[in-house]
């Protein structure tokens, strides 16, 4: 089983041909699609993706779908509940021998941060409560991207969005969804990013081998919403990790482990200055106070990471 479940040890083990069909209407340089197609390669086509309203709703537009497996669009708030219905129905069919075992599917929720951090949180919490056997993927581009990047519960402090255009940007702070999930004690929780495909692949492989609610939070650089040149998607993703803004970590068997420790953390402003949504921190003049506050938040996070991990 280990062979089947854990085949990815190095970059060379990553798939070189890809399962998710091309031809989707996602923006060019989409960091979410980058993560989703990598995830799909690992999960495979014996899956049914249950989608919540968001950018990825448009992956399947009649009569075109990139999925080689199955898909169900639900609504913004209740994709996890849709997953519950599909999973329960498959279990009933299997239990009653109405379908063969090899007709079974892995049920996967695909949702943006708008739904995951807000409207869909109650339905997500419900599935964790009920120990639903499914994988939950949130592509987090830190705002209501599909409607033009208004701020959401996932928007970071100071980011300019189309509903936070003032000199200081978004006044709130990014909600700690990872910890909210962990508080439910699901089977697995991990952060990933498309810019680190090996870390992502290992985590999805691990998730696939576990039963129960498995929660994946993928930071998804968004050229349209974050206002940068699409070619920078991977660079920005890498900087998110190197600056420590986006800790790559996983929670499994009740333990929290960081899977990448940026020992020499790059200053956060290196990450921020590539993005138009933070340009007001640098122009017309540097907003030292805000930059320092953002850096201090990141530093404070890593100071709390136990020494043995570092």
């Amino acid at each position: 089983m280990t062979d089947k479940n854990h085949t990815i040890h190095s970059i060379k083990d990553l798939p070189s041909t890809h399962l998710l069909g091309t031809g989707t209407p996602m923006c060019s340089g989409c960091g979410a699609l980058e993560a989703v197609h990598q995830i799909y390669d690992i999960l495979g086509k014996k899956t049914v993706f249950v989608n919540a309203a968001g950018c990825m709703t448009l992956l399947s537009v009649y009569p075109f779908t990139p999925f080689r497996g199955s898909w169900l669009y639900t609504a913004m708030a209740s994709a996890p509940a849709g997953a519950q219905g599909v999973r329960d129905a498959l279990d009933i069919l299997l239990q009653q021998n109405r379908i063969e075992q090899d007709e079974d599917l892995e049920v996967v929720v695909l949702t943006g941060d708008g739904a995951a951090y807000g409207m869909g949180l109650s339905a997500t919490s419900g599935t964790m409560e009920r120990k639903l056997d499914y994988i939950y993927i949130c592509y987090d581009n830190e705002g209501y991207g599909n409607t033009g990047q208004q701020y959401s519960g996932a928007t970071p402090h100071a980011a300019r969005t189309s509903t936070s255009q003032g000199v200081s940007g978004f006044a709130g702070y990014k909600k700690n969804l990872f910890d909210i999930w962990v508080a439910h004690k699901p089977a697995y929780v991990a952060t990933v990013i498309g810019a680190d495909p090996l870390d992502l692949a290992k985590k999805i492989e691990k998730a696939r081998s576990i039963e129960g609610p498995r929660m994946i939070l993928a930071l998804s650089p968004c050229p349209t919403g974050w206002d940068y040149d699409p070619r920078e998607t991977v660079n920005i993703g890498r900087l998110a990790v190197k600056t420590g803004v986006w800790p790559l970590k996983e929670y499994v068997d009740g333990q929290l482990v960081h899977t990448r420790i940026p020992r020499q953390r790059v200053p956060v402003e290196e990450y921020l200055k590539l993005q138009g949504r933070f340009s007001h921190l640098f122009e017309p003049e540097r907003n030292e106070a805000l930059l320092a506050e953002i850096q201090a938040k990141v530093d404070a996070y890593w100071e709390k990471v136990p020494a043995q991990e570092k």
Partner: protein, 413 residues
């Protein structure tokens, strides 16, 4: 077969049990809760196969119901009032999936002000959702309609979810004698469901409920849903006929009670319609040629049948247990549209609104509506819409308002 006393809620649960449902996503709400408690008890005791899962909201409940139906199992669920409205987005959504299942709604008035007692604004809010609707007037009908609803929902000419509606309190908590069909006979009548090509299987990739761009495809899919709903008329009649052959009870799309020679008709839906039946009997004792029409099927609306039954009458009183703010009774509007432009339409179509939030309608009020109707016919003019409301009731409200300290000086009596 066994004849016993059952509440409307109990009858709904028996309907689900006899239809051999596989899956019951649930959420508690008064006055529906007894249905899911009953099913949970049976499943826990091993008397019934199937799985019941309590979700965290009705919105999620209907999503799970749709998800399971889209995977190809037989699904039952139940709700009421605010729950139905909380689920409203998903009612519209899942009907478009063309994944059939049956939902019981126990009618209860809507907030605000919030109340526990029944009227039909909840179910009528779902009128245009794509769910077909069967309205019941007795506990027996609740059970029978649930079985019939599965046939209707799953028929290949229809493939739409169906709501079976019953009134809170007046049916939900009221026991009446109900014949419970034998499990085998019910099973045979309902049959098994094959979702064919609308389901999730590893061997057959399928993307369901996908987006469209542009009005052309959107209109196509929406109108196909409408055509399917319209097919429900003929399919329903077939099912009602077959049901009557199997179980000896005929549940027509429109109940016509003592209408053959009737000059005057009451029209109303739901359990209060039996009060109208009682009034018809009493009025007939005094020589009135009066009857009752009760649409059981509201969606699809049996327009042709209603036209035929209403044709040539002198006067019709529509009693709506609902109110569309700024318009009035919904059933009255529906009948007016059904009758418009027909030469044989009754000259008087009077609108009465009564029974909001469980407010009783007395037999005397039915008599008085009949009088008003006869008067209107004499004058050749429909009376203005009337809320069934008495001076005594207003006086009681004024007392409550005095306690609530609204400005007394501005109150009329």
């Amino acid at each position: 077969m066994k004849r016993t006393l059952l509440t409307g809620n109990g009858a709904a649960a028996w309907g689900a049990r006899l239809a051999a449902v596989d899956y019951v996503p649930a959420f508690p709400i008064t006055p529906q809760t007894e249905i899911i408690e009953t099913l949970a008890d049976w499943i826990d005791a091993g008397e019934m196969a199937g799985r019941l899962v309590t979700m965290e909201s009705e919105h999620s409940m209907i999503t799970a119901a749709g998800g399971a139906a889209a995977t190809g199992v037989r699904v039952f669920s139940a709700t009421s009032s605010q729950g139905l409205l909380y689920a409203m987005e998903m009612l519209y959504t899942v009907s478009g999936w063309r994944a059939p299942f049956v939902l019981t709604n126990v009618s209860r008035g809507l907030s605000s002000p919030i109340t526990l007692e029944p009227d039909h604004n909840d179910i009528l809010a779902a009128r245009d959702s794509g769910f077909l609707q069967i309205h019941c007037a007795s506990c027996q009908e609740v059970l029978d309609s649930t079985l019939m609803a599965y046939r209707l929902a799953e028929d290949e000419r229809v493939r739409l979810p169906v709501i079976v509606n019953l009134d809170g309190f007046y049916l939900s908590f009221t026991r009446e004698p109900v014949e419970i069909p034998d499990a085998d006979a019910a099973r045979q009548f309902v049959g098994s469901f094959d979702a064919e090509n609308i389901r999730f299987r590893a061997s057959a990739p399928e993307s369901q409920a996908v987006a469209v761009l542009g009005g052309g495809p959107y209109s196509y899919f929406r109108y196909e849903t409408h055509l399917a709903a319209m097919n429900g008329l003929a399919v329903y009649d077939e099912i009602a006929e077959e049901f009557s052959e199997c179980f000896g009870r005929k549940h027509e799309a429109v109940e016509a009670y003592k209408t053959d020679d009737a000059d005057y008709l009451f029209v109303m839906m739901g359990s209060f319609a039996t009060k109208a039946r009682e009034a018809v009997d009493r009025l007939r004792e005094e020589g009135w040629a009066i009857g009752l029409l009760r649409p059981r099927l509201l969606r699809p609306l049996p327009a042709a049948r209603l036209q035929q039954l209403l044709a040539g009458r002198k006067g019709v009183a529509v009693i709506d247990q609902n109110i569309s703010m700024g318009m009035g009774g919904v059933l009255h509007s529906e009948l007016a549209s059904v009758l418009y432009g027909r030469n044989d339409a009754p000259p008087v179509l009077a609108s009465f609104i009564g029974g909001l939030g469980g407010r009783d309608i007395s037999t005397e009020e039915f008599f008085e509506m009949a009088q008003a109707l006869r008067q209107a016919v004499k004058l050749g003019q429909a009376p203005p819409p009337r809320l069934l409301y008495t001076e005594t009731e207003l006086r009681e409200v004024r007392k409550l308002q005095a306690i609530a300290q609204v400005e007394r000086s501005t109150l009329s009596t």
